[in-house]
Symmetry: C2
Subunit: 327 residues, 2 copies
């Protein structure tokens, strides 16, 4: 791909009209020029999705575009930041116009839905991969960091767990008897909902948060490590969707424990807050129609254990998340 072609590609598909007031110069010069508000800190995250590793090769361009933004939006949510600016580095095997048009349209819609302006990009020829960097704005005082959990704090999760991992299993089961369940879980895999708006409220009463991209155990583990704490997870309180629950009537050979505790790609938030903030947190969740569930307790044990209703530890089969290509 010559640079001239590359430039035309960027111009044609990624010159969106939408403008934020804090963008002096958008796509088209050597650099974009941005004017961050004085009272805010910048929250910066970068994620790469590689075809065949982070999404199946057959994934539609609109789902790929959506997800490439959603995973980074979810990182901003984990800090409680307001999304502001994006850059896109898109590596494509060829300049398939239909693919580019579908990708561009979905990317633009997702940017608009979250108030983000695309301020820079690079298109290169090579095996399909998408790197998105997002910058958000956050108050220094209220930002949620991983190192702020304390013994006695409660652990919560938004939404339900395990659906995306189940969706991954169901992708190839074209003859699965309940297509509604199948579609519902595949949608959770391809179209995770970053909890951006809720997180901007949650910062007011949460000490720390992380988005569940690698599975609850692995991600909560990062908080525990950074905060030098331990925790207990109440296995029987982990929230599951109706689709997830009903699927087991058709599938008896799946490891549901693994999907719940170590299934990635749900992009729900795991939040840690002191008990006195619980009422306020649930009030925010209710007002925003977000399902919030208490699932555990931070302690001084230095370990992460998963317990049943009798307080007995459950033996864990797996604690890591595996991308589908390696399963």
């Amino acid at each position: 791909m010559t640079a001239t072609t590359e430039f035309s590609l960027i111009q044609k598909y990624f010159s969106y009209d939408e403008r934020r007031d804090d963008v002096t110069l958008g796509v088209g010069d050597d650099c974009a020029l941005l004017n961050p508000p004085h009272e805010k800190q910048l929250a910066v995250t970068v994620d790469t999705l590689v075809s065949g590793v982070h999404f199946p090769e057959a994934t539609s361009p609109d789902d790929i575009a959506y997800k490439s933004l959603a995973v980074s939006l979810s990182d901003l949510a984990a800090m409680g930041a307001e999304p502001a600016w994006a850059t896109l580095a898109l590596t494509l095997p060829n300049s398939n116009e239909a693919w580019l048009e579908a990708f561009s349209k979905s990317f633009k819609k997702t940017l608009n839905d979250y108030g983000v302006q695309l301020v820079g990009g690079d298109t290169t020829q090579g095996p399909l991969s998408i790197t998105v960097q997002l910058t958000g704005l956050v108050d220094a005082e209220s930002v949620m960091r991983r190192d702020a959990a304390k013994a006695g704090d409660k652990i919560y999760v938004t939404g339900s767990l395990g659906d995306a991992a189940l969706g991954l299993k169901l992708l190839d089961m074209h003859d699965f008897p309940d297509p509604v369940i199948r579609e519902s879980c595949i949608k959770r895999l391809n179209r995770p909902l970053p909890r951006v708006e809720f997180a901007q409220k949650a910062v007011e009463c949460c000490a720390c948060a992380i988005d569940i991209s690698d599975g609850l155990i692995a991600d909560l583990g990062h908080i525990l490590k950074a905060s030098a704490c331990g925790a207990k997870i109440y296995y029987d309180q982990l929230p599951t969707s109706k689709a997830f629950d009903k699927s087991s009537t058709h599938l008896n050979d799946l490891d549901y424990q693994q999907m719940l505790l170590a299934g990635g790609d749900d992009y729900e938030l795991c939040l840690v807050a002191s008990a006195e903030n619980e009422a306020a947190l649930f009030s925010f969740a209710e007002s925003m129609d977000v399902l919030l569930t208490e699932v555990g307790l931070i302690d001084t044990s230095g370990e992460l254990s998963v317990i049943n209703t009798d307080g007995e530890p459950i033996e864990l089969i797996s604690s890591g998340y595996e991308h589908f290509a390696h399963e």
Copy 2:
């Protein structure tokens, strides 16, 4: 690559000690947290280098690391910005520790040389590619933009042109009779020198600038388009290195015109300034030991022509830059 492995990789190879005062939180949380100075704008650029497209597969990891930063540093230079923060999205076919160590060491050294802190990263498994986003700081009043050229302004370039393109040709000529020339040009290809420091001075007297990554004609063309101007290039005044000049005694079948006018990868600056600022500009260049050459004039023709010493147009054989893989 599981996410756990991925995390270990980032931690092990990219947890550098160096800290800028404006970085509240570096690598290791969902997002980095940054405190930009109030009086500055942010200049943001992103570039992807793909193995086999932007550099030959045999390129050493330390050259790849250097160049992945240099191309973005050069974009910051084109705006006159001071480099500040980087993110790195690294896609690797496997976790070759020797490769990672060499890459990491060179990446760190280059960051340090330019006062940049790495604030975020993502490592993923896939065909080798490197995406770097750099953010720089710039004064809103003096920033150099592509749309500010005016008829009567003079055109300058830093350094010499064509060496990187020649280096690319010489890569496979292992029996080239003058190894000093060969090494010198290959170094220009693998280790381009971004004109960051000079550019921060040049902003005081230049209207606009662009870095020459796609060849003088293509890149100057961007300025002309954005500024709605034309220009003349004085072919016989284009600066060449001694290595470039001497190489022709051994090579008679190479297209030197194409390398000079359309050879990319030199990452020199093309600057546009009004005539009254010429003395100041040359003074800065001299004080910083940067070779600066007047190579043309902005006019109202609406076209870009390359002329000889008699003022006659030279017929152009090619006007675009082609990555080596497509030649």
